[in-house]
Structures are given as C-alpha cells and as structure tokens.
C-alpha cells in the first residue's frame, strides 16, 4: 500500500513537471530555441495570481485570466525584444540571452516583491479522492493537474494538425527558409508560438503554485530546469513526449527517494536520463533524425 502512495505522489510531482515541459517543448519544437526564461514566466504568473486573489481579494477565475493575459504579453514582449533580433545569430547567443532574461525576471521579482516567501492559496477546491478505504489519498491538485495536462496535450496536437496557424508552425519548424518562400510570416508564427507557450506557463503557474504553495522569486528556476530535463527525456519537440517524460521523471524521483535513498534521488534521476539518452538519443518519443547524404 505504501508503494501505491509513493507512486501517486510521484505522479502528482510528475504531472507538474509535465505541464511545464509542455510549454518548453512547444517553443523548442517550433522556434528551435530553448527558452530558459519559461520557468520564470511561471513565477511571474504565480505572483499575478497571488496579487489578484490574496491581495486584491478577487475570485480565482479572475486571477487565472489575469495571469494568462500578463504571461502572454510578457512572453510575446520578451520574444520581440530579446529573441527576434537574434533570429539569425548562432543558437548559443539566443541560449545565453534566454538565461539573461531568466535572471532579469528573477531579480525584478526580487526587487518588486522582496525576498520573503508568500504562501499561495490553492485555487483548486476539489476534495481529495479517497481510495482503498481512505488509505490512499489523491489530492485535488493532482487530479486537476493531470486532467489539465491531458487536455492541453490533446488541444495542442489538434491545434497544430488541424488549424492553418498550426500548419504554419509545423512548416516553420520543418524549414524556416522554405516556409518563408511559401508565404508564411515566420516572425508572426513564432510570436504566436511564444504567446501560446506563455499562456501555458500561466496555467502551469496556477497548478504548480496550488500544489506547492511557497512563492518566491526563485520559484520558477528549479522546476523550469527539471521540466526541461523532462522534455528532453520524453523527446524534445514532441508534445505527448513532454507529458510522458514529466510523469516518468516525477515517478522515478519519488520511487528512488522512497526505496533507494533520499540523499541520492537526484543523482539517480539524472543517471536514468543519461542511460535513456544513450539508448535513444532523441528521447522516448523523439523523432528519428535521418541524415540525407
């Protein structure tokens, strides 16, 4: 029975990684850049919800909407100001810029909100699900996070495969030059990608902060990195891969904490990652890259 409860807490941690990884993988898959500031956009989303619901006392729905709007604007602005001028620069320059943006956001938050921890009130009021006569508890946050993850995953897949904008995104991700020749506005498509990615960050912020309610300027940093690992694990660029990678990462992390050693859990997680990447370099769901000669 304790195995089941470890498994469930692993899934609940993993579902949070998964929902963050979806945003990472979306932006990477289309814009072919690692947006390391993704985690910090989550942090900003967390603060927006906190201010709207706790400080201004409005309803959680208003808070979530405000977070989505603020994060979307922030994401598009960051893309316009920091990433677009570097579109033709080396990928390394863009990567370093993303890290710079990440620190900028963290320090701005530190300046605005101070270093003290704020306790986030969960916006999810669902009762925990009791199984096996109350011995197993699945919290409302976990259920909502997993459901949201699945909905987002299906929604994104449909959006990319069925809509015109989605097809444009696919085209941009396949070959930017050819897409331009076909009359696709690459800059606009990438802006839309960032808008969607950042809106996903706002959703992730709400779910993440509800599950782990201590909010500081560093809140987004570590889950951002873990979610990036999850995205690579699942196959970066692949939307179902991000979901699977995130949940697997959480489960491996928690089971190694439970049965091997809580001191070594991170080392074990990353060893598994290395082994998976040795066997499947593109990740679990990654596409095979065929080199044409």
């Amino acid at each position: 029975m304790s195995f089941m409860s470890y498994l469930i807490s692993g899934i609940s941690l993993g579902s949070v990684y998964a929902i963050i990884a979806l945003g990472y993988t979306m932006v990477y898959g289309i814009a072919k850049m690692l947006n390391f500031a993704h985690g910090d956009i989550i942090m900003v989303g967390g603060y927006v919800v906190f201010i709207v619901t706790s400080t201004m006392g409005m309803s959680p729905v208003v808070g979530i909407l405000a977070a989505v709007v603020v994060c979307t604007i922030l994401g598009v602005t960051v893309e316009r100001v920091a990433y677009r001028p570097l579109r033709d620069a080396s990928p390394l320059a863009v990567l370093i810029t993303a890290i710079g943006v990440s620190y900028l956001l963290q320090n701005l938050a530190l300046l605005l909100f101070g270093a003290d921890t704020k306790s986030f009130t969960s916006v999810i009021t669902m009762e925990p699900l009791k199984l096996a006569g109350g011995q197993l508890l699945i919290s409302g946050e976990t259920i909502v996070t997993i459901l949201s993850g699945i909905i987002v995953m299906i929604g994104l897949t449909l959006f990319i495969n069925k809509t015109k904008t989605g097809q444009a995104m696919l085209a941009v991700s396949e070959d930017r030059g050819a897409a331009t020749l076909m009359g696709i506005n690459v800059n606009k498509t990438i802006s839309v990608t960032f808008a969607i990615g950042s809106a996903l960050a706002a959703v992730a912020a709400v779910l993440y902060c509800s599950a782990y309610p201590a909010l500081t300027s560093q809140t987004g940093a570590m889950p951002g990195i873990k979610a990036f690992v999850a995205a690579v694990f699942g196959g970066i660029g692949s939307i179902p891969g991000a979901m699977i990678g995130g949940i697997l990462l959480g489960v491996i992390e928690n089971l190694s904490k439970a049965y091997i050693s809580s001191q070594l859990s991170d080392a074990i997680v990353f060893s598994v990652l290395i082994i998976v990447l040795l066997v499947r370099p593109t990740g679990i769901m990654g596409r095979k890259i065929s080199e044409k000669v």
């Binding site: 807490s9 941690l13 921890t117 009130t121 508890l137 439970a258």
Partner: protein, 416 residues
Amino acid sequence: MKRKILSLTLAAAVAASLAACGSSGSTSTTTAAAADTTAAGGETEAAAEEGAAETEAPAADGATWKIGAIGPLTGGTAIYGQAVVNGAELAVNEINAAGGINGYQIEYNSADDENDAEKAVNAYNSLKDWGMQMLVGTTTSNPCIAVADKTMADNMFQITPSGSAVECAANPNVFRVCFADPDQGAASAQYIGEHKLATKVAVIYDSSDVYSSGIYTKFAQEAENQGLEIVAAEAFTADSNKDFTTQLQKAKDAGAELVFLPFYYTEASLVLTQADAMGWKPMFFGCDGMDGILGVENFDTSLAEGLMLLTPFAADATDDLTVSFVTSYEEQYGGTPNQFAADSYDAVYIIKAALEDAGATPDMSVSDLCEALKTSMLNIKVDGLTGSGMTWNEAGEPNKAPKAVKIENGVYTAME
C-alpha cells in the same frame, strides 16, 4: 621559484574562495534575512552614533570601562542590530545604577555595520579610536567573521551575542552567547530527550546546506545519548525542495512521533502543508531557522499549531529576570524585545561576571584585559535571560540548557 609563488598565490586564492563559500553557506537566520543593505549615508550615521550613544559620566578617579557594540542599525537587518544595541545599553545602565563593575562605571558606545563585513571593520576601527576595551558584537555572522580577525590582531576581548556561524567564534579571543549553528542539533536532541517529547524521531534535512546538514549530524550524535531512536533520516536538496510527501510518508511508515526539521521556514511551510494534506499530525520541532514561519505572508498559521522550535528567549516567559527585562525594554525602547536583545543583554552581564572574576581594573591594557577575560570566561557561571548556569569552553562556545517555544493559538509560547 616564480612558478612556486604563483602556485602559492593560486592556492591562497582558492582557499580564500572556499572559506567564503563556507561562511556564506553556514550563516543562520541571523544573516539569511539580510537580503539588502542600504548603502546610503551609513558611514556618516555610524560616526554620528559615536557621540550620541555615550551613556555614563566617568567615575570619581576618572577611570571607566569602555564597552562598544556593533550591529546593523540601518538596512534590511536593522531590527537585529537595534535590538543588540538596545539590549546592551539596558544592561549597561542597570549595572551603572548598581555601582558599576569592580567599582568602576561603564561607558558605552555603538556603531552601525549595515550587515556588511567592510563597514563592520570601519565601525570597529572608529570604536577603537574612541577607546573601546571590550566588544559586544557583531550581530550578524558575516560581519562578525571579518571583525573577529581584527580583534584577534589587536587581542581585544570580543563576545558576539548572535553570530551563530561556526567561524564567528573560531579565534581564541571570541566567545559567543548563542549556540553555534550545528550545536543547535545537539541542543535540540537534548531538549527532546530531557522533556520526553518522543522516542521515535524522524529527521528531514537539506543535505545541500551546511546549516541544515551540520545540525542534523550533531542531532544524530546526541540523539543516541538521549535514548532517541531516529527511525527515518531523509534528505532533500536545494534542487528538489518542493515535494516532501515521500519523505513524510517514509517517516510516517517508520512510526515517527516527532519530526525534526532543521531548516528554514520557507520549506517548512511546505512540509506542514503536505503533512496536513496527508492527514498526518506528528509533533514538529525546528531550530532558529524556523523562526519566521508565522510571518510568511498568507500562510495558514493553524498548520503551525503545536510546532516547537528551539530559541534562546521567549518574551512571555514568567521568570523574574525575563519579566523585569521585558518591562524595562518596553518602557525605554517600545516594542517587545526579541532574542537578539536578550543575547546582548546577557553578553554585558557575562563581561561583568568575567571582569569581576578576574578582578580587573580599567587601567589595564586592552591586551591584558583580553588575556585575563579569556581565563575568567572558563571559570564563570552566569544565569541570564537566554539560559541559566551558562558556562564556556576554550573554543568560546556556551554550554547552557536549551529553551524552546511552542506555537499556540498562532503565537510563540514559552515551554516549561
């Protein structure tokens, strides 16, 4: 030869950077909250402070003791420095009113360090120019380490009320009133054992933090002597400090009655929330890093109900000493004194006890006084606000019975 010099320099640089890492890692709450230090106008204020804070006229034959105090009087940690300066001043005034030390009155002066190591050295130098013979300070760990090197060079007696990093009292001329960071571990085990709070104990600690893992190591050693059984010792790191459900589940499955949490309140607030979500209600026990949990904005303080934490001083204790201290502190400075004020109040009385034991007089040189006090510190036994029957060892560490507070109805309440 040139290469040798180069390599020595490099080695020194590496050692210095390692030392810097160590000190920043092991700072306690004393410095943890010290995020910002406002630089503007600090030095001029420190200088102005000099003239203003002198309290007592010289004795009949002109000789007086000169005691100085240093702490952050401005900036983000001003609350600590002001408490230290006020607490020491209160003790000095009481001692002077009662006839001084060995028949000589005390002159008292304080200076601002803004919780900055460099400014602390400046503050120390200006107090030295004033004629300081003994130093109460500094308040926070990093400045304290910097000043401790200066006092050792001058061989001046230093007692820090609240510098809790191990390095603060590393020099032979420095003593401290509070427990060193890792010693809180031993003190916690002792407290839990002596008060028979529990026999089956689980520990969750931050293995990536010197403060937390240092406390855990000492706790585990002392737990054995106290007959405590550590049924689960679970770690987390700064990289995975959000989800504690697995650690809590393991502690629960192992049958722990009490969970010891030697880390800061940010993570502790998550631990308490997650334990509550699991429907598990063991006793929780923390160290000084836990102090502040009631101040987390929007935190549901009912989750912290029954939480115990090791702290040297509770303002609502009912013993005569605490009551009279709290009353006169509130009269003179307004506001309830915190543990920093109590620590520095004790520090002045400790100096008094040591000077009396040594039979010292103010005409002795700073260095002679320091030597005499170093010997006397090992002989004296002081009953203070932060512990009764306090004694010191040669390492400068106090030996005293630990005190704890419990959160009841959302406020800290002294435990018997």
